[in-house]
């Protein structure tokens, strides 16, 4: 109770975070607005444009999101999002809880079609082909985009059948093809040595970390062009998290990855680009280094350094 007058620690600069301590940080960013200003503008529904870093121009992109809006019933969850996902790189999506990261991720493979109240506006393309188009083949689209969810969700079947699920539903029956795909995917997911002797046992008997890696193996088995990861490590211990980060690191290049994370260290470790979202808007987007070391907006800086409430 007596401490209440001193409840101002947010304004004092906290101990330097490990990500920031190495390089020298300019003390003042010229042209900065006052902290909180932008958030207030957003909250009151005012105009604003995404602070897009210069480096983002001219990159090859695989997914192109333009002026995308999304409503759950009457409430708008995404406001005029513009984002292009660079080919073969890991892009991290950060932002406070409820800002629409999962919603944006699920829009890319039209997972939100499963929610009845959803309405969208604007366009998205995958390798130049429109995703939101009355003639677009959603099933085909989802085959080209792998998705890993926050909670591991293995199917009630054997480990083997789990991994080759997308091949099975594509109608592939040949044992040799299935077996090869299974081994390759499990190896990439770093799970092969652990489970190669028990491929026939139920996937539901694995540990949580193993299940999550199984889900990653399942997502890459059909060799999609894009991988969407929604907080893939949130339910895992540090060791399993480390493994999955290594895996993501290894997968980039072959796959373009869009990944949601609440862990700033993780974002700075594994991603090449970072997008910061707030209340359904894309606030700042640029190379991870730039976002963490030299953000254009104070709001972004506050968030990535943990000063933001």
């Amino acid at each position: 109770m007596n401490e209440s007058p001193q409840m101002e620690p947010r304004i004092d600069p906290p101990a330097p975070s490990p990500a920031m301590s190495e390089k020298k940080q300019p003390e003042e960013h010229p042209g900065h607005s006052k902290p909180g200003n932008l958030f207030q503008t957003i909250e009151s529904g005012g105009d604003f444009t995404t602070a897009l870093h210069r480096e983002m121009n001219g990159l090859d992109s695989v997914v192109e999101i333009e002026n995308f809006n999304l409503w759950y019933g009457k409430s708008q969850a995404l406001h005029n999002v513009n984002l292009s996902l660079p080919v073969g790189k890991v892009t991290a999506l950060i932002g406070p809880s409820g800002c629409g990261k999962s919603t944006l991720l699920r829009s890319v493979n039209r997972m939100n079609d499963l929610v009845d109240s959803v309405r969208t506006e604007g366009s998205m393309t995958l390798a130049g082909e429109p995703i939101y188009h009355s003639g677009a083949d959603v099933i085909e689209l989802r085959k080209r985009i792998g998705m890993v969810f926050q909670k591991p969700n293995p199917f009630p079947m054997s480990i083997f059948e789990n991994v080759v699920y997308s091949l099975r539903i594509a109608g592939i029956r040949k044992r040799s093809i299935l077996q090869e795909a299974c081994e390759k995917s499990l190896q990439r997911a770093g799970l092969w040595t652990e489970v190669k002797d028990r491929l026939k046992t139920s996937a539901l008997q694995m540990s949580g970390g193993q299940q999550q890696r199984l889900c990653i193996a399942r997502a890459i088995a059909a060799q999609p062009e894009v991988l969407l990861l929604d907080e893939p490590c949130s339910a895992l211990d540090p060791i399993a998290t480390g493994r999955i980060e290594d895996l993501i690191d290894e997968l980039q290049g072959d796959y373009s990855i869009l990944m949601v994370t609440h862990n700033m260290q993780q974002a700075s470790r594994v991603s090449a680009y970072t997008a910061f979202m707030y209340l359904g808007r894309l606030v700042e987007y640029g190379p991870t280094e730039g976002i963490f070391m030299n953000p254009r907006l104070t709001e972004t800086e506050d968030y990535v350094t943990g000063r933001f409430g």
């Binding site: 199917f155 539903i169 594509a170």
Partner: protein, 246 residues
């Protein structure tokens, strides 16, 4: 009676499961679905004798008579299918237990986590592939529970059967391994429950009949328990295959 219960299960499970799948997975929630659901629940509360009357008039007199006209016109006016028989009795029981199966299956489908469906759709599966490969296997134990309840209810039912085919005494069983098609779905049959009723309340010498009543009751209970154990055993095996060891 075992045969009858089996025919009943074979008839009721696909229909019940399909109906529940439609209600849960395909139909848009709305007035229509709510009405159907209320109707199903009401159906579960209808006295079984009403099903017997319906079975008699619909299966025996309408469907059976039609079959007779088309295929067994030589035997007319003696009905072949146009009277009570084990097939019609089974169908009547199937109708009687349908609500139980529908309700249990809907419960089981609701218990399948949404995340599993999303995982399947995320792999590019169609709705039917998702249902067949992920939802149904996962819901199977629950569906089996519905079947067990249906069997428990159907196997002990007497009232409707008195109308649609159970007789006091008959020499020929519906299954006859010495004659060509082996199965005679049009034949009447004896039913243990009906037998108990008959012995206990209809015979002249009820004192003498008492031991017979007890014995028959014991046998009836044993058979119902046996059927249930069989179904529970199947369910346990399915569970083992699909659920985590934890």
């Amino acid at each position: 009676m075992v045969i009858m219960t089996m025919i009943m299960s074979i008839m009721v499970v696909p229909f019940g499961v399909l109906a529940a799948l439609y209600l849960k997975e395909y139909a848009k929630p709305g007035l229509f679905v709510s009405l159907v659901r209320i109707a199903v629940n009401n159906l579960a509360g209808v006295p079984s004798i009403v099903f017997g009357v319906f079975g008699l008039s619909f299966f025996c007199y309408i469907v059976g008579a039609q079959i007779d006209e088309w295929f067994f016109s030589a035997n007319l006016p003696n009905p072949t299918y146009g009277k009570g028989g084990i097939l019609w009795a089974s169908l009547t029981l199937a109708l009687l237990t349908l609500p139980v199966v529908i309700v249990a299956t809907e419960e089981a489908l609701s218990a399948v986590p949404q995340s599993m469906r999303e995982g399947s759709y995320g792999c590019g599966a169609t709705r039917w592939q998702t249902i067949r490969r992920v939802v149904l296997p996962r819901a199977m134990p629950g569906i089996m529970t519905g079947m067990i309840l249906a069997i428990a209810r159907g196997a002990g039912e007497v009232a409707p059967l008195m109308l649609v085919g159970a007789v006091k005494l008959t020499q020929d069983l519906p299954v006859d391994l010495s004659q060509a098609p082996f199965l005679f779905p049009e034949r009447s049959f004896m039913h243990l429950g009906f037998h108990i009723y008959d012995l206990g309340f209809q015979s002249q010498d009820s004192e003498a009949a008492r031991p017979m009543v007890y014995a028959t009751t014991l046998l009836l209970i044993a058979i119902v328990v046996g059927l249930n154990l069989g179904a529970i055993w199947i369910r346990a095996r399915l569970r083992k295959r699909f659920e985590a060891a934890r």
